[in-house]
Symmetry: C3
């Protein structure tokens, strides 16, 4: 079963969509959910959703690791015509997941206690991001 | 089919569980295994299991790339109440896989010659880590 | 359904195999494709395939982030007997995907407009890389 959900972003940062997923995607039985983001300048992430400082620090770390193209340390970049945030966005999209799997038991995502689903936006402008969702339900035990 | 295996860790580093997987998870036919770690401060990894220096060097590299929160270069972190190893653990857990797939043929994981399954522990204290395993067996050819 | 495709590399860099995949792997209906690379010194990647500068810049960034073992900043590495490019290759293979999923609709990979499939070679010598492909076709709706 294939579905698609959309996440609207408003600049760089992590947007949790665990609740959106649960409200839009109906799961039954056991199986496997696969998420796939159809873009090359944002990422999927499963991360702690208890303390908001965690996602703030994640954003800060990756901004330090991959600074904007107009930072002197990034002088060697050539793909700069789409703005100083574009090539760093592709780099972060290479380092962080484009696809993720979560097993499903009795119709529930088997996320750990503190795990939430996030869209990590790497561009500064707002974007409507599309995530393809595949659910493979296991055949009932004989 | 969903199972779960546990890996006991004793501080930061890579713990191979290829043999544990083979002894606990019974695979038959062709299909796909998916592994999912239900935590936000450790990772799954498929890496070389021939020379122990490889996993030692991997641990050393990621320690340099993401030093503890009390390192001056990490002064901007705010999520520090759970210890200097906690936020770096979340960062490494973002950069390294939370889920992995391995195709299965004739009941065997299609790992390459030098590939092994690892749990990469990012916390300094011992932890009991739980890995959810999903196996989807292909329908027999008609 | 399990298949395998080979990608011949000629030194470090990204090799697109989207067209090779489409010509060798026959997909029908809806389902999920999983790719798995059977090596520990190269990676799979889904990235922009419009501007060739993007893949050039990706290669340059990861070369800066993980320099060769004979770079002074990497003095702590011990696994150096297989050449200065070998341990950095394992590190990049840890940071970048060993497995990837792409949902399939009506026999087509659900890649976004600018997404292409790449093999990212981290070694300097030419290699023949093998990618295992699993396709799970959804049962037809009742």
């Amino acid at each position: 079963m294939i579905s698609e959900i959309g996440v609207q972003t408003r600049g760089q940062g992590l947007y949790e969509f665990t609740n959106l997923f649960r409200s839009e995607i109906r799961l039954t039985g056991d199986g496997l959910v696969t998420l796939f983001v159809r873009h090359t300048s944002c990422s999927l992430l499963i991360q702690e959703n208890a303390d908001p400082d965690v996602v703030r620090d994640l954003k800060a770390f990756f901004h330090c690791l991959v600074p904007p193209a107009d930072d002197p340390s990034m002088h060697y970049l050539r793909h700069v015509a789409e703005g100083p945030d574009d090539m760093p966005a592709h780099i972060k999209a290479a380092m962080l997941p484009v696809s993720l799997n979560v097993p499903v038991r009795d119709g529930q995502l088997m996320l750990g206690t503190w795990q939430g689903l996030y869209l990590f936006e790497h561009r500064t402008a707002p974007h409507q991001r599309r995530i393809a969702i595949h659910f493979s339900r296991d055949a009932a035990a004989p």
